[in-house]
């Protein structure tokens, strides 16, 4: 046996591995490029799909596929989220607000060619009323529905138990095809995941490979005109950094969820446009002003000083929100005043004459006047020399932004004579403690939808818990104010948008001045796209709006157009150079190694 055979065999193996890797590097892009006639828009995502059933959606990815696959009667407009015609061309509300009549668009077809009629609409709303599981999942809206009927092919009548104009117009009920769904044994179950989905929207889900990609194909006969792209593919990137590298390398076209550093890197790329859009998300501080149940039982162990609005407002005045935006978000956000972010211009309340300005002296004066005197250690005590004002401050252990905010707040509040014990806690535990009322100050934050009722509803007396075990988690912070509730009931049934906006803003003002919660900032959405590949991405809202986080309808993807490119294959030269280089290096190393081996072997023999 040749003494060198093992060495040689292994060397051969190593060389062939390297060569086959090199061959793959050259051959694979060629193979992939074969069907480049299909215009594909590649969107990076990291969220896997649990269901395609629009009635049981929880994840954003299902929401995103639903607004493209299916359609609603009324859409949220691209310019300002105002209701615009979708499958319904017009609609009217009866005098008592209980009966709604919709004229259904004629000539609309499902993606399988069948005609869409008012009967499909009646079937869909009927599922919300009659299918127990779907009813329960959507109880806040479905509980108010009495009947859903199609009086003819083009007219749909919806009857309610109580007036709810805003809910009817902004609730996204995705119309599903009766001729397909009525064959399902249980429409609330996974039958509805059978691909390809049949819908009436601009793109339908046709293929899903878990953790790899999710494909939606264009509906060429879409009633509002065929989309510009032949397909939209959600491509999975577990790490945003990898998605950024892929955008730079041209392997993906749209990336969202970026941080300021990534934005900075992408801005220097010639083929990338960065969209720094207003977000729908706020970050807030919840102050434990005393947790109570529906029947008035107090629970939890919040500090008594926090029950005094003066203390809460003094703490509010000692926060420089603009400084937080500048340092924590690198300027990519806005100071917050309420739970309706600035992006919803018609509902957002900007503080008006009640705006709390950052003023440490005034804040100190408020506490002095209220009788909270400083002790020997500089920390204030309750009026009459009781308990020290020492607060526990819980923040999410996995969030570095919050940790930075805590550093600032502890310093500002120390100047007020407050002692803060900050403690990072794992998120689930933090939630448990918050709903048990066992905290003084804690972080919170929500993504807000275009209908303000949901967010405002979390601060009504009706959602206070009935038990003290922290298991009912509907109330954001045990807030209960009859004035606020009265406004809330009024705004829910007010049909005139301007009058409703007044009510909603007054609710926000009440919350702001009572300060059970201090809203810190609205975080921008940072996204980027390859403008050599895609153009015409319409934002929602029109001014400073976003591409990927659209509500009610995927305006951006319907109107997106591919950019004609004639420099295809620009990378292949580099591929060849690099492969040649790699082969030379490997060959040289192999030769040197063999020569050396031979030499030493000879010496040793």
């Amino acid at each position: 046996m040749n003494p060198h055979s093992l060495t040689r065999r292994l060397l051969c193996a190593a060389a062939s591995l390297t060569l086959s890797a090199g061959a793959l590097a050259v051959a694979a892009p060629g193979a992939a490029a074969q069907d480049s006639e299909v215009d594909t828009l590649l969107v990076a995502t990291d969220q896997e799909v649990d269901t395609f059933n629009p009635f049981k959606r929880r994840f954003i990815i299902t929401y995103n596929t639903s607004i493209m696959t299916y359609e609603t009667l009324v859409r949220m407009g691209a310019d300002d989220y105002e209701p615009v015609p979708g499958l319904a061309t017009e609609w009217s509300e009866s005098e008592d607000g209980l009966t709604w009549t919709f004229a259904i668009r004629e000539g609309v077809e499902w993606s399988d060619g069948e005609a869409l009629t008012a009967h499909d609409v009646a079937y869909t709303y009927g599922l919300l009323i009659e299918n127990q599981a779907i009813h329960d999942w959507n109880i806040d809206f479905a509980g108010n529905l009495v009947s859903a009927e199609a009086t003819d092919d083009a007219t749909f009548v919806l009857t309610l138990a109580e007036p709810a104009p805003a809910e009817v117009l902004s609730r996204e009920v995705f119309i599903v095809p009766e001729h397909v769904w009525s064959t399902y044994e249980d429409p609330s179950a996974d039958d509805a995941n059978e691909l390809p989905l049949v819908g009436s929207g601009p793109f339908q889900v046709t293929e899903y490979q878990a953790g790899e990609y999710l494909r939606l194909e264009a509906n060429e006969s879409y009633w509002d005109g065929a989309p510009g792209f032949d397909e939209i593919v959600y491509d999975y990137y577990a790490e945003t950094d990898a998605a950024v590298a892929a955008l730079e390398a041209g392997e993906v076209d749209i990336v969202n969820g970026l941080n300021p550093a990534q934005i900075g890197a992408l801005e220097s790329q010639d083929h990338v446009t960065v969209n720094n859009a207003q977000g729908r998300r706020y970050v807030s501080l919840t102050l434990n002003h005393g947790a109570v149940t529906q029947d008035g039982t107090e629970f939890g162990d919040g500090h008594p000083a926090l029950q005094d609005p003066v203390v809460r407002n003094a703490m509010h005045a000692a926060i420089d929100k603009q400084a937080l935006v500048d340092t924590v978000l690198d300027g990519n956000g806005d100071p917050a005043t309420s739970l309706i972010p600035k992006i919803f211009g018609q509902w957002h309340w900007d503080g008006g004459g009640d705006l709390v300005e950052f003023d440490l002296e005034a804040a100190n004066a408020m506490l002095d006047d209220a009788g909270y005197e400083r002790g020997d250690d500089g920390v204030r005590t309750m009026p009459g020399g009781g308990e020290r004002l020492s607060f526990r401050f819980f923040h999410h252990a996995d969030n570095t932004d919050y940790a930075t905010i805590v550093d600032f707040l502890v310093e500002w509040w120390a100047e007020l004579g407050l002692e803060i014990e900050a403690e990072p806690i794992e998120q689930a535990t933090l939630n448990d403690l918050a709903y048990l009322g066992e905290f003084d100050i804690a972080f919170s934050g929500w993504g807000v939808g275009p209908n303000p009722t949901e967010q405002l509803g979390m601060h009504t007396c009706a959602v206070l818990p009935t038990l003290t075990d922290g298991s009912e988690r509907s109330s954001e912070n045990s807030y209960c104010n009859p004035d606020f509730d009265a406004l809330h009931e009024q705004q829910k049934v007010e049909s005139d948008p301007d009058a409703r906006a007044e009510l909603v803003k007054e609710q926000q003002r009440l919350l702001y001045t009572d300060a059970p919660v201090i809203w810190l900032y609205y975080q921008n959405v940072l996204e980027a796209y390859n403008h050599d590949k895609v153009t015409g991405l319409r934002t929602q809202p029109a001014d400073g709006g976003m591409i990927t986080g659209q509500q009610g309808f995927a305006w951006a993807y319907l109107e997106a157009r591919p950019v004609d490119s004639d420099d295809a294959g620009g990378t292949s030269v580099w591929v060849w150079v690099a492969v040649a280089g790699a082969i030379v290096v490997v060959a040289a190393a192999g030769l040197a190694f063999t020569l050396r081996r031979r030499k030493t072997a000879d010496e040793r023999e």
Binding site: A27, Q209, Y237, A238, E251, N431
Partner: protein
């Protein structure tokens, strides 16, 4: 990582034993981790020759003992898996309803759907009977049978970790045998240094560097994923595309782990270096390479058997970080997603799967030792 000098080898073994086994008498159970795999113990004294007569009955006992041990371990894993993941605080419903206000009725509906309204003993019983009958229940986050989720992702994991592991073991052993043989040479120092630098490099960081160099700047390989969505569905296009996507993750995976095998093989060879049977082999006029290949390496391989089996067992576990960096749709990524969610039923199932694959692999190694290490037979 222990490193033995040649003098620690067993001088008592004569050349006539060279073809059986004279490696360090390391018990398989001591080889639980690669790190202590090379630890050498004083060889146990030889048993009286009279014991040799009881080989056949000894094997039955030996197997029974180890199978029993494995079974106990499996049971412990099964039980503890249920309780460990219940220590994770928080209400699963909070995760399901993140960023969305929910009414108490909706909450109750979800609770019932997930079976969380059942009493604890009932959940435990369902879990035990379910796991034993391969009905692993439904995932919280995907609301699908966990069995399907695992079956869907297993091939991707086996492909990545399997390829990576085979390369790492071959590369590690091959280089390890040579560096050990020429201890202290520039070749030895260079390889040990390179191997250890890569071994201690954070996988995440190394993966990103590999992506930036080979995918971002050279454009040779895709950044992420296992397939591109635009690849035609026929077999060859798919195979080429998957192979293309496989290169960078395997490169990263192999680079990080091969040093472990290198170091074990190297110390194992070092233990053999002083052996008289090698001197004998040289005296017979064999070339240096041949002495190493034919005499030293076969003996040095013995302690690494457990290591190889452990490697096989851990192929199922996948490589959590590599899969995450490269968005590889395997079990490792499923595990990570489930931790962050937290998806208790999936964590339970994966924990049992990962642990049992390792336990079974070690059991196989122990049984194999009976056949390849005569001392096992002698000691009954």
């Amino acid at each position: 990582m222990t490193e033995s000098t040649p003098s620690e080898g067993d001088p008592a073994e004569g050349p006539e034993d060279a073809t059986t086994a004279n490696g360090p008498a390391t018990r398989p159970s001591d080889l639980a981790t690669p790190a202590d795999g090379a630890s050498t113990e004083a060889p146990s004294a030889r048993r009286p020759a009279g014991r040799r007569g009881r080989v056949s009955s000894g094997f039955g006992r030996y197997v029974a003992k180890h199978v029993g041990g494995a079974a106990v371990s499996l049971l412990l894993v099964l039980f503890s898996s249920f309780f460990i993941f219940r220590l994770i605080a928080g209400d699963p419903i909070d995760q399901l309803t993140r960023e969305r206000p929910v009414s108490p009725e909706e909450r109750a509906a979800m609770r019932a759907e997930l079976g969380l309204d059942e009493p604890m003993w009932r959940q435990f019983w369902d879990y035990i009977t379910g796991t034993l009958t391969m009905d692993l229940g439904d995932s919280f986050q995907y609301r699908r049978p966990i069995f399907d989720l695992i079956v869907e992702r297993l091939p991707a994991t086996l492909l990545l970790s399997g390829t990576g592991m085979v390369l790492a073991v071959l590369l590690g052993f091959w280089i390890g045998a040579r560096t050990g043989w020429r201890q202290g040479s520039r070749f030895d120092r260079g390889h040990v240094a390179t191997g250890l630098v890569l071994y201690s490099a954070p996988t995440f960081w190394l993966g990103m560097i590999v992506i930036l160099v080979f995918a971002r700047y050279l454009g040779l390989f895709p950044v992420n994923g296992m397939r591109s969505p635009s690849t035609p569905p026929d077999f060859w296009s798919q195979a080429v595309d998957i192979g293309h996507h496989l290169v960078l993750p395997v490169l990263t995976y192999t680079a990080v782990v091969y040093a472990g095998y290198l170091m074990i093989m190297r110390s194992s060879i070092l233990d053999e270096l002083g052996g008289d049977y090698l001197t004998t082999a040289r005296a017979k006029g064999l070339r240096d390479d041949e002495v190493r290949r034919r005499h030293a390496v076969p003996n040095a391989l013995l302690p690494t058997v457990t290591l190889v089996f452990l490697a096989l067992g851990s192929v199922v576990n996948g490589s959590i970080i590599t899969e995450t960096v490269f968005s590889w749709p395997g079990l490792g990524r499923l595990f990570v997603q489930s931790i962050f969610y937290p998806d208790r039923p999936v964590l339970q199932a994966l924990f049992v799967l990962f642990s049992s694959s390792t336990i079974l692999a070690v059991l196989c190694a122990e049984i194999l030792y009976w056949f390849i290490d005569p001392r096992m037979r002698r000691s009954g």
